[in-house]
Symmetry: C3
Subunit: 101 residues, 3 copies
């Protein structure tokens, strides 16, 4: 048996990741995971991480949450977009443990 | 033309990743991919990878499989949860090549 | 309010990643993100990145796009598969900003 949840995926500059995770925390998310990004292309052109300054580094933040928290994230879009994420996408997913998310 | 499959995503401590991939192998998964994790927040609080000991490092394991293997993973939940994953989520996906998964 | 898009995820050797991103660019994708891979198992057996030669390194390419671009990617399957990706999977997702993808 599994339980319906939402998977939010946000690509954002590493230096602004805490703005996003702080917002997720405040909106009631029970957790999140950050992955490193090697390179990307977006509206600002191609960027590659790993330079000495680190200013071009992006991260992916993954947050599994219930529909209520996901709805709050969508409603907080102005604040979320203030961190200038390259991508915010949300997919439906199933989780094994209802109590965790 | 595409084919319906399942995408299983598991976040687990790097030191326990082999428990998960061995289980996936045994349940008939044809492959999996491991990604590094920078940091995460969950029920045990915030953890950051990259310390010298490596004991806090997590990884993301992604496995694309058919419904039958995904069902087996759900049924093997006790064994899977024995590796103490932070997250197990399953989404529907489409793949290009039916013969690969 | 959110907008329906597609999330394409491609696992491919790092040395062939540009073949994939060039194809995505040509097919009209507005961006993509590359993540590092630690290890994987597929039809060629287990491979681990990070060796000195780098020849075994894989990357994950994530591309959020509209249904039209996703359809073009599926139609360009012969060219895409020429880069010998280990995985190509497509999921439905929602995005906050229609104008970005």
């Amino acid at each position: 048996m599994t339980h319906q949840r939402k998977r939010i995926e946000i690509v954002v500059e590493a230096v602004r990741a805490a703005e996003v995770t702080d917002l997720l925390d405040r909106l009631g998310a029970t957790g999140w995971t950050q992955l490193p990004v090697l390179a990307g292309r977006g509206r600002q052109g191609v960027r590659r991480g790993g330079d000495l300054s680190g200013v071009l580094d992006n991260v992916v933040i993954i947050c599994i949450c219930g529909a209520t928290v996901a709805e709050r994230v969508i409603e907080a879009r102005e604040e979320l977009l203030g961190a200038r994420p390259a991508i915010v996408n949300i997919t439906d997913c199933q989780v094994l443990r209802a109590e965790h998310f």
